[in-house]
Amino acid sequence: MTPMTARRRRPAAGYAVVLLGLLIAGAGYAAITEAGSASATGPNIAASAQVSQGRAIFLEECATCHGQFAQGVPGVAPSLIGVGAAAVDFQVSTGRMPAKEPAAQQPRKSPQLTPPQIKALAAYIASLGGGPPVPTSGQVNAHGANAGFGQQLFTADCAQCHNFDGAGGALTYGKYAPPLTKATPTQIWEAMLTGPEAMPVFNNTTITPQQKRDIIAYITQTRSEPNPGGFSLGRVGPVTEGLVAFLGLLLFMVLAAMWITAKHRKTPNE
């Protein structure tokens, strides 16, 4: 019996193995889940005078990463010159910005600035020149829009990233197309128009404003429509359905079989 074998028999050995296993699993998972780093581009051009409140907010919340004059910092954050008010409104109202840390992709969070603050910030960035404005409520009003046509456009140009349901999907290197469950019509419009992060740009001459409204109608109707077949299982598709078939249905049948064939237990009367 080697010293190792002798120690193997100790009661603590079992706990040691479990602990080691947990550590290995945790370290392994952490290693492959990347934090990632932000992409960086952009020239540096300082802006002229603008809404001072927006500038003040910018300096406080954004300049650390995006630079004093929104020119961007290579390897940290892109330039915001020319991105327009719509981009700012999208990023900040979805809580993605201000970002807490560099990441492969900024997740949606509760917004950290109030709507008036967001407006000011957007105005400041817009004053730097160029870029699409925030849409009016009339522009994003999908009432009467053609959701069927929206479905066609969505499946051809959006579903490959966002999934036919808007449930989102994986991209490369830790990026992902987010789920569309919480996006407001305005945010959907702005995202299409400005192409945030990895998303392509769908300007108003490629996908017209009416088509954008059709897409918005499709997204909002789909995510709010009831699931007539029961619980949606996350609308993920055959992966969850297969899990339910094995872990739910088959397990139920096995339990039923166990009951039916269980050994007869003698009752006191026998």
Binding site: Q160, K175, G195, P200, Q211, H264
Partner: protein, 383 residues
């Protein structure tokens, strides 16, 4: 351990009899679990036979036979309780069953919410009905029926030598009588006659489809054919598609609803900022990893059909310029001629030669210069 032929049980087996003729021992009944070897001939077969009168016996008394299974459960009280439970289950099952019929009549469909309610009602009543029947039946078997443990002997599966011998003789006699072996000409011509009959069904399948020919080598794109945005079917001016990072699906004019055409001819166009694309130059000849000068204003057109197994390779990451196919994650670098950088695809996405027509709309310069879509045997590396 005995080998396979020693499978005889305690009794003798005669060929041709079923196991009911086997002998065995009846073990003494012990308490609840009585083991009885099946096949023990019961003392008397018929229940209705009048007993032969012996001196002093009463005429007309039927002989009683020993039942093969206990008539009553071992624990009558538990069985009585169980009977009530089972009956309740069956009553619930019946009610649920009627509920199903009622639900069918009451709940209408034709709306998503209506369908939801109808599905809920019908499914629940059906599930409960079957479920209670199952529960009731199970409790019945387990607690109301008497518990038995019986033994049945297996036959050896191998026939005994006499049977085999007899079979062999029959078969030999029949073969001899058929003259099949003795007359080779008959035999061989018979086999020859069946050959076309076996092949004919395969031949009949010929018209399932046309021969592939060179169909897979070309798409419907031709010189001067306009690119239309899918869905709206509107032609595109470069000035309209001017935002760097833009991507859209386009289809050939005249084939926007033709799935057979679109399955090969669907295209995505991507707009790049100046300097992002690596173009083919005279000193860097086209090796598949540069973008050909078939672009307009840094707008590049690639086939949307993945060269792996044909899914639309449609994910475009604006920041990395990668086109990702969602099916099996083949990834293509759009700035370098859709060179494959990960995944199972072995070839880049073909690039569509593009120019503008007289009215300024994007048109194809020609068809793709190589076959589009998944690989196939007759496909060389380039057209």
């Amino acid at each position: 351990m005995s080998d396979s032929t020693a499978g005889h049980g305690p009794g003798e087996h005669e060929p041709g009899h079923d196991l009911a003729a086997g002998g065995g021992e009846t073990q003494a009944a012990e308490g609840a679990a009585r083991r009885r070897v099946i096949g023990t001939p019961s003392p008397a077969r018929s229940r209705m036979l009048l007993a032969e009168t012996a001196a002093g016996s009463t005429a007309g008394l039927p002989e009683v036979r020993e039942p093969e299974l206990p008539a009553d459960p071992q624990d009558m009280d538990d069985a009585k309780r169980a009977e009530r439970i089972v009956a309740a289950c069956f009553v619930l099952a019946m009610l649920a069953g009627f509920g199903f019929i009622a639900a069918y009549l009451i709940f209408q469909v034709h709306t998503v919410t209506g369908t939801w309610h109808s599905n809920l009602a019908l499914g629940l009543t059906m599930g409960l009905s079957f479920g209670f029947m199952g529960i009731g039946a199970t409790i019945w078997v387990r607690r109301v029926m008497p518990h038995v443990d019986q033994v049945e002997m297996r036959h050896p599966l191998r026939s005994d030598p006499e049977a085999r011998e007899a079979f062999a003789e029959t078969f030999a006699d029949g073969t001899a009588a058929s003259q099949f072996v003795k007359r080779p000409i008959l035999r061989r011509t018979l086999i020859a006659a069946t050959v076309p009959v076996a092949v004919a069904p395969i031949v009949l399948l010929r018209d399932l489809g046309p021969l592939p020919g060179t169909v897979l080598d070309h798409t419907v794109w031709r010189k001067g054919m306009r690119l239309l945005t899918y869905g709206a079917n509107t032609p595109i001016r470069p000035a309209d598609f001017s935002s760097p990072g833009g991507m859209i699906t386009v289809v050939p004019d005249g084939f926007q609803d033709d799935f057979n055409a679109l399955a090969k001819a669907a295209v995505i166009i991507i707009k790049f900022a100046p300097g992002e694309v690596v173009y083919t130059t005279r000193s860097a000849p086209a090796d598949g990893f540069t973008v050909q000068n078939w672009t307009v204003d840094n707008i590049v057109a690639y086939s949307k059909i993945c060269p792996h197994v044909g899914c639309p390779a449609a994910l475009y990451e604006q920041t990395t310029h990668h086109i990702l196919c969602p099916c099996h994650q083949s990834t293509f670098d759009a700035t370098r001629g859709a060179k494959v950088i990960f995944g199972p695809a072995t070839r880049p996405l073909p690039q569509l030669p593009m120019t503008v027509d007289a009215e300024g709309f994007l048109v194809a310069k020609s068809d793709f210069t190589e076959p589009v879509g998944p690989s196939f045997w007759e496909r060389g590396n380039s057209s």
